[in-house]
């Protein structure tokens, strides 16, 4: 049994499509994304179709989710942030369902592809830059590059440091989600491989571990979606309140 534990992350094209040199073939990840989008849309549409004062099961679930996202936004951005509710709710639900559905054996975890997470992270960071430029004008750029209260002789040192720390934001956003998902599924793959090669005599031990890891992965799937959403809110909130955002958050 020599199975590469990273093998499940490789993608085979089911239907090769090429559009002007651009590879838009349909593979497992694309199908999983369609499944996730369909599921989230169905859940939300069905839950809100019969709006009752006393909610049923589905409506309660949707209400808890919406209330949860609303809580994150109100905590980090305040009332201004509510106009970004559609974006943030979409991001949260998509990432959460990708993470959770990826734990079902035989499916694919879309968020374990750095392309996907990087696109999300760059979109969020780009949006926060555009938002800051629109709200504060061109003085937004020196505003984020020079922290308030910097003496003039430190400016040549602080600007490169702040530049790196700003560029690190989307990178850390993308790498965190991608690395957590990949690492978790690799560990699960290794444990299952050990189970098979261990046989009945000792194989139950890694199998028991893999069960425990699955529980941990459920938690990580939720926590990672939560962190991505919170950081999205924090970055957008920083663009809203240039400086002074650190003491308003809590």
């Amino acid at each position: 049994m020599e199975e590469n534990p990273l093998h499940p992350f490789e993608l085979q094209n089911y239907i090769p499509i090429s559009l002007g040199g651009l590879d838009i073939s349909i593979n497992k990840a694309v199908i999983m994304m369609w499944v996730v989008v369909t599921l989230v849309t169905l859940l939300m549409v069905m839950a809100s179709s019969a709006r009752k004062l006393v909610p049923g099961k589905l409506q309660s679930l949707a209400e808890i989710l919406v209330d949860f996202i609303r809580g994150i936004i109100m905590d980090t951005m305040g009332k201004d942030g509510m106009r970004f509710f559609p974006l943030i709710a979409t991001l949260f639900l998509f990432i959460l369902f990708c993470n959770l559905l990826g734990l079902v054996p035989g499916t694919y975890t879309v968020t374990s592809q750095i392309v996907v997470t990087a696109v999300f992270a760059i979109t969020v960071y780009g949006l926060s830059l555009v938002l800051g430029l629109v709200l504060h004008g061109i003085k937004f750029l020196p505003g984020i590059l020079i922290p308030p209260g910097t003496p003039w002789w430190l400016v040549p040192l602080m600007v490169p440091i702040e530049f790196v720390s700003q560029v690190a934001r989307p990178v850390s956003l993308a790498v965190r989600l991608f690395a957590n998902m990949t690492a978790g599924h690799t560990i699960l793959g290794v444990l299952f491989g050990l189970t098979i090669s261990g046989g009945l005599l000792i194989g139950w031990l890694p199998f028991a571990f893999s069960v425990a890891m699955n529980g941990l992965e459920l938690g990580i799937a939720f926590i990672q979606a939560y962190i991505f959403t919170v950081l999205t809110c924090v970055y957008l909130g920083d663009a809203f309140h240039l400086h002074g955002s650190e003491d308003h958050a809590h």
Binding site: I161, V167, A168, R169, S172, V175, Q224
Partner: protein, 73 residues
């Protein structure tokens, strides 16, 4: 689904952030330095050395900044 104000989940979220905060700034600093070395100035290893140092400083600064947002208890 816990409420987002739940201190346990808020704390867990903060804790998981710190590590990648450090790492990402190092990647960016080293990457920028490497790009300057190879494409802009051909300045030997010094761009990357400076970039890594900048990245380390920026990483610590980012970690410090995110630790400042911890809920006070």
């Amino acid at each position: 689904m816990p409420p987002s104000q739940d201190p346990f989940y808020a704390g867990l979220g903060q804790a998981v952030r710190i590590g990648t905060e450090l790492l990402a700034a190092l990647i960016v600093g080293g990457g920028v330095g490497w790009a300057i070395d190879n494409y802009l100035l051909e300045s030997g290893p010094w761009g990357m050395v400076g970039g890594l140092i900048l990245g380390a400083i920026a990483g610590v600064r980012n970690a410090y900044r995110s630790a400042q947002q911890w809920p006070k208890s």
